[in-house]
């Protein structure tokens, strides 16, 4: 009995020490490889900064537009004054013809044209509806939005003023006229990101994606490099001391987890605080989301790493996925309008759930129960990819063992652990 206990204890001790050895070795390898160090430590530090600077203005204001005023009356000038007052639009050109405005548009000197018809004033006088045409540039969604929302709201406001004025002339009291033209008051408010800032919307999601992408690339590069280094192109070294699937997977994962746990403080704590991005999520909520996310991303990377035969392969075969993953996350394209096929593809990537979950927690202030779907999915993926990672390493270890045994005496020089 005593022997069994001490034997189990001995096995346990060796497992722990071997795992620790793999952890230590992996950490050393990671940090002594310049390319991987850049990927793990520099990219997550630099990208958020760079993107924050690029998107620094956050919102599109003062869109340069031309106003073609064919009416040239007091009424039309009143309308133009109102247009000028909106922060969305900046009237660059007034009193020009439609041809000139279109020419300037071609030269990109204005990004939209507002056409006030010749009949504007007379329409209003005769009680007909005056139609103002907005020609919007589609180059950027934000331009289109600025133009349509800016000019659209001015038209509604101006129309309202005219209506109230008429009702006043018809003998109604001010209050009556107001109630008549607006039977009820409409009040719209944004939940999260009230200014509609682009950085506040895009960067937190991008941060989450960067975590997964750099992790998978780094794991892939390490795997490719390992294959190049090892004598027989195997994924793991010919060192019998480290032959244990669980030890291998756990030891390696621990190294990546350690680095990313530290990086997460910077990416999810410091960056939002410095640049004023939403930070409604509490520490516990972030931990609840980040732990399964890191684990699932690491195991996902380890599982994929079997396909990367060379150091460069992950860059060639995996990097491009960053852009489709951004669109699949549900941040850009609404999930409700995604086909079931793409929904299914989406759900196998840890980043999709983490990005959406992070936006929910951080921008909307959702708590853990309201993010339970994402967190549950991340744990499921963690379990699934843990199994695939173990499977991958088990077959690789079996391969190495076979190679070593077959090689016999002359090839038996096992490579010393670092």
């Amino acid at each position: 009995m005593k022997i069994i206990i001490s034997k189990t204890f001995e096995r346990f001790r060796s497992a722990i020490s071997n795992t620790a050895l793999i952890f230590q070795r992996e950490l050393h390898l990671l940090l002594s490889d310049l390319g991987v160090t850049i990927l793990l430590l520099i990219v997550p530090v630099v990208y958020p900064f760079l993107y924050s600077l690029i998107y620094y203005p956050e919102v599109v204001r003062d869109l340069p537009v031309a106003v073609v005023d064919l009416s040239q009356t007091a009424d039309s000038r009143a309308f133009i004054r109102k247009l000028n007052a909106t922060p969305d639009l900046d009237i660059r050109y007034e009193n020009i013809s439609m041809e000139e405005a279109a020419e300037k548009f071609r030269k990109r000197e204005n990004r939209g044209i507002i056409l006030i018809p010749e009949t504007y004033s007379s329409d209003l006088a005769l009680g007909r509806q005056a139609v103002v045409s907005l020609y919007a540039d589609m180059e950027f969604f934000l331009y289109y939005k600025a133009m349509v929302m800016g000019a659209g709201l001015v038209s509604i406001e101006e129309g309202n003023d005219i209506q109230v004025k008429r009702l006043l002339n018809a003998g109604l009291s001010e209050r009556q006229a107001e109630v008549f033209s607006n039977p009820f008051v409409i009040s719209g408010s944004a939940i999260a990101n009230p200014a509609g800032g682009f950085a506040s919307y895009g960067i937190p999601a991008a941060l989450m994606l960067i975590i997964q992408q750099t992790l998978v690339l780094a794991i892939g590069i390490m795997a490719g490099t390992a294959r190049e280094r090892h004598k027989m192109g195997t994924l793991i070294p010919c060192d019998l001391r480290r032959m244990g699937t669980l030890r291998m997977v756990m030891g390696k994962s621990a190294a990546y987890f350690f680095i990313y746990a530290v990086m997460s403080f910077y990416m999810l704590g410091a960056i939002p605080a410095w640049f004023g991005y939403p930070d409604k999520a509490g520490f516990c909520q972030l931990v609840a989301l980040i732990v399964p996310y890191l684990l699932s991303a690491i195991f996902f990377g380890l599982s994929l790493s079997v396909f990367f035969k060379n150091r460069e392969t992950p860059m060639l075969l995996y990097l491009f996925l960053s852009l489709p993953l951004l669109f699949l996350s549900g941040i850009i394209w609404p999930l409700s309008n995604m086909s079931p096929v793409w929904q299914a593809v989406r759900s196998i990537f840890p980043s999709s759930h983490a990005m959406l979950g992070y936006i929910k927690m951080n921008s909307l202030g959702a708590d853990i129960s309201e993010t339970s779907h994402e967190i549950a999915m991340l744990w499921k993926l963690t379990a699934f990819y843990f199994m695939t990672a173990c499977l991958v390493y088990k077959t690789q270890i079996a391969k190495v063992k076979k190679l070593v045994l077959n090689a016999g005496g002359e090839q038996n020089e096992t490579i010393p652990a670092l």
Partner: protein, 427 residues
């Protein structure tokens, strides 16, 4: 400089022979490259399969145009005929669909946080009564602006719908007073805005996004595979053999090597054009010849940039990192997510260094809007400038190919020694 250092300097043949030899060398190099490409599945994946899948992904994801029927909720505290009518009208709009009617605002907010809805409308107590007696109740709506596109669509949709409902009440009152219908509209909404998309009313925004995403995906593959195909010769020390087959001319070596890729990526670019103009039926408002020219320039410009990267950093791991950084940044700096004009000055200049930015301009101005060539001419000119980039690094690249002095240290030694030597190298 490196020419003189070549150990085997050849005799000078006559000019005709030089041309013939060069042409033959070119064919040989291309044949050698095609042989290399078919030797590993990696090339087939990175040059054909993955680019094709990416193109099809973006085309199928957004082919339906503007997202419709986004799920929203209505919180009805009133429970009258009028509030029911409001709910039905909101549900009937093309942009949103009422998927639930939670009892309280708190519940609606929670549903929004769970991601089940993108917005909700609150119809207050006594809505009908207060409208009738003219005390102007407040109808509030909320939209999830953490997701900018869905939030923007909901905001727009609900603003319009609620104004229409307001006008409907107004209209009923006026009709009750005996006004006739056309003048009712004019009285309710004296100024009506009508939005047109300039010069291209048929195209919806998501389709337009697709038209930019396809070339952005292709440029990543062009950059990466071009850097790889050159860098691997240095890494695996086959560059001298490569150069020997090309008659010791870097120009021939590069042209011959990249020609097969140019052909494949040109076909892929034309296929993406086919997807855009035939499958998504974006109107093509210019001659097809410009489309062909633009596609060819696009592929060549990115190949030139990739050659420049390898010349700059002949060690492949570094040039691949640089290409990856540049390729991913194109999404941001081509300016379609956020307008370049609104970025800080330095990024405006930086954006000029991305061919996809100029591609986008030509695409919008000449191909979508059908403006004359002159308006797009400056962008074509900038495309030409990218083609000059390889000449800046040609000597550096040649010496790297000959001396192979950018070999990664790990490659030289054996497994165990590699780790040790790398360790001592770092310390």
């Amino acid at each position: 400089m490196p020419m003189a250092c070549l150990p085997e300097s050849s005799l000078e043949p006559n000019p005709d022979q030089i041309m013939n030899n060069k042409f033959k060398a070119l064919i040989d190099v291309s044949a050698r490259e095609i042989n290399r490409m078919t030797s590993r599945p990696l090339y087939f994946l990175a040059v054909v399969i993955l680019p094709l899948l990416s193109l099809l992904f973006f085309v199928s994801l957004m082919k339906e145009g503007v997202p419709v029927k986004l799920p929203i909720a209505v919180v009805d505290y009133d429970h009258t005929a009028l509030s029911a009518k409001f709910r039905r009208t909101i549900d009937a709009t093309p942009g949103s669909s009422v998927v639930m009617t939670p009892a309280t605002e708190h519940e609606a907010l929670s549903e929004l946080r769970k991601g089940n809805i993108y917005g909700y409308v609150v119809l207050p107590h006594n809505l009908q009564a207060e409208i009738m007696n003219g005390t102007q109740p407040v109808v509030r709506f909320y939209y999830q602006n953490g997701l900018l596109i869905a939030g923007g669509l909901i905001q727009n949709d609900l603003t319009v719908t609620l104004h229409t409902l307001s006008a409907g009440v107004n209209k009923q009152k006026r009709e009750a007073m005996g006004q006739d219908v056309p003048s009712v509209y004019a009285a309710i909404q004296p100024v009506k805005p009508e939005a047109h998309l300039l010069f291209n009313p048929e195209t919806s925004y998501p389709v337009y996004v697709t038209s930019i995403m396809l070339p952005i995906m292709l440029q990543i593959f062009i950059l990466m595979i071009t850097v790889y195909s050159i860098g691997i010769e240095i890494k695996e020390r086959t560059s001298r053999e490569w150069l020997r087959i090309s008659g010791k001319s870097v120009a021939v070596a590069l042209t011959g090597k990249l020609l097969p890729y140019t052909a494949i990526f040109f076909i892929l670019t034309m296929f993406s054009n086919f997807l855009l103009f035939r499958v998504l039926v974006i109107p093509l408002n210019t001659g097809i010849i410009y489309l062909v020219l633009l596609s060819l320039l696009y592929v060549l410009a990115y190949q030139a940039i990739a050659v420049f990267f390898v010349g700059l950093l002949p060690m492949m791991r570094h040039s691949l990192n640089l290409a990856a950084f540049y390729g991913i940044l194109a999404l941001t700096l081509c300016g379609f997510s956020f307008p370049i004009e609104h970025m800080p000055e330095v990024f405006r200049l930086w954006a000029e260094a991305f061919p996809v930015r100029h591609y986008m301009h030509i695409f919008q101005s000449q191909i979508l809007a059908g403006f004359d060539f002159v308006y797009a001419a400056p962008s074509y000119l900038k495309f030409m400038l990218f083609l000059l980039l390889p000449f800046a690094v040609i000597y550096r690249l040649k010496s790297a190919l000959i001396y192979q002095n950018f070999i990664e240290k790990i490659q030289i030694t054996d497994a165990a020694l590699a780790v040790v030597s790398e360790k001592s190298h770092i310390q």
